[in-house]
């Protein structure tokens, strides 16, 4: 049941414009940072290689923070969707406890 619900959510979100915009923005940020000296993500430390473990770790940390904030937006919207679109009267699960097992 949980797998079915998860796959429904993923398919539903992939149809949403917002997800692709977020993907694009994050992709562009990291692409810029790794390919150009003008764009800096995280603190720039001189005398490090562009692909040094420290630099890559910094990217991960920063992007992790961004995406965590985005994830809250997505989860919030999934949780509130039935009430937002007035479908809660139809979609109350038959056995409430089993819906997450």
């Amino acid at each position: 049941m949980f797998i079915n619900l998860l796959s429904f959510e993923i398919r539903y979100w992939l149809r949403s414009m917002m997800v692709w915009v977020f993907f694009f923005v994050i992709g562009a940020m990291i692409f810029g940072a790794t390919s150009s000296d003008q764009i800096v993500v995280g603190a720039a430390v001189s005398n490090t290689y562009r692909n040094a473990p420290f630099v890559i770790q910094t990217y991960y940390a920063l992007i992790g923070i961004f995406t965590m904030l985005m994830a809250t937006a997505f989860v919030n919207s999934a949780a509130a969707r039935d009430f937002q679109y007035n479908t809660h009267q139809m979609s109350s699960p038959r056995r409430s406890r089993s819906s997450l097992s």
Binding site: R15, S16, N86, Q89, M90, S91, R94, S98
Partner: protein
């Protein structure tokens, strides 16, 4: 299976008495609930559909206590809400599949077959890939019925299903409902009087939370035979007539009021005997005439 409602009462926090000692027994087949807007129809249906609590009384579906054993009821229930929305960016087939999952159809293959069968049944199969948000009112309502029919419900509750449908769509919808209603309990609420007469073998009239009439619509109409008189009058005379006679209803016909009057004795003076309709029954019950 039979649905028995006894002494059901509900008062909202703002003091509105939505249900006042309602006792009904609903047999298999189509059952009409007739009442004005705000009469308590939706409260009654939402209570039976386990979506809200009653203050007192009991509801029994066969030998299931509806107010206590909610899961057992939900497994046997199909509910079409009065107004419902749909998710954006989703096709009818996907949404129906999702709702079937929530209703407990966990096997993927079974669900796929079920969704297709339901969409065939309500004539939406060719539109199954279209976004639900682009559906017309009638199509959306038929989708609502399809979702209510998932899982072979024994009790089907439809709350004002024809609000906003054009006459053609209304007929198609009712044909569909009548087909389903042969084998299960269907409770249909409406404020459109003719719908009940056309479809239901039993009905109840609800007004201000109380049941004013329970029985067959035809018997109710017959009970008024020969007691209803109609007359066209001038607009200015309406007040006089209302004090002098038991006026059941007045409506405009070609710009002049046509009144229906209840009388045990024969009226002449320009009155003509009118064929009573269910509308006369409805208004005479809620205005406590006759």
């Amino acid at each position: 299976m039979e649905l028995r409602i006894s002494n059901l009462s509900k008062t909202y926090a703002n003091g509105v008495k939505a249900l006042d000692d309602v006792t009904l027994s609903v047999p298999q087949g189509m059952y009409g609930l007739l009442g004005q807007n705000g009469a308590g129809k939706s409260t009654l249906m939402r209570t039976i559909a386990t979506l809200q609590e009653a203050d007192s009384g009991s509801v029994m579906l066969g030998d299931i206590d509806v107010l206590k054993d909610k899961d057992a009821v939900r497994q046997r229930l199909g509910y079409l809400p009065q107004d419902f929305g749909v998710y954006p960016r989703i096709s009818a087939a996907d949404m129906l599949d999702h709702l079937a999952l929530l209703k407990g159809v966990t096997s993927g293959g079974e669900r796929k077959a079920l969704v297709e069968a339901m969409l065939q049944k309500v004539n939406l199969f060719e539109h199954r890939k279209k976004a639900l948000s682009s559906y017309s009112g009638g199509m959306r309502q038929r989708f609502g019925i399809a979702q209510a029919l998932i899982g072979n419900p024994k009790l089907l509750i439809v709350d004002e299903p024809t609000a906003g449908l054009d006459p053609g769509e209304r007929n198609r919808f009712y044909n569909l409902l009548a087909e389903v209603g042969e084998s299960v309990i269907v409770i249909l609420s409406t404020h459109i009087v003719e719908d009940v007469l056309e479809l239901c073998s039993k009905m109840a009239i609800i007004h201000k939370g109380r049941v004013l009439y329970e029985g067959g619509p035809e018997a109710a109409v017959e009970s008024l035979a020969g007691k209803i008189y109609s007359r066209k009058i001038a607009k200015s005379e309406l007040k006089d007539y209302e004090t002098q006679y038991k006026v059941i209803s007045n409506k405009m016909v070609a710009g002049r009021p046509l009144i229906h009057v209840y009388s045990e004795t024969v009226l002449d003076d320009g009155f003509a005997v009118a064929q009573p309709g269910l509308e006369d029954v409805f208004f005479s019950k809620i205005n406590e005439i006759g």
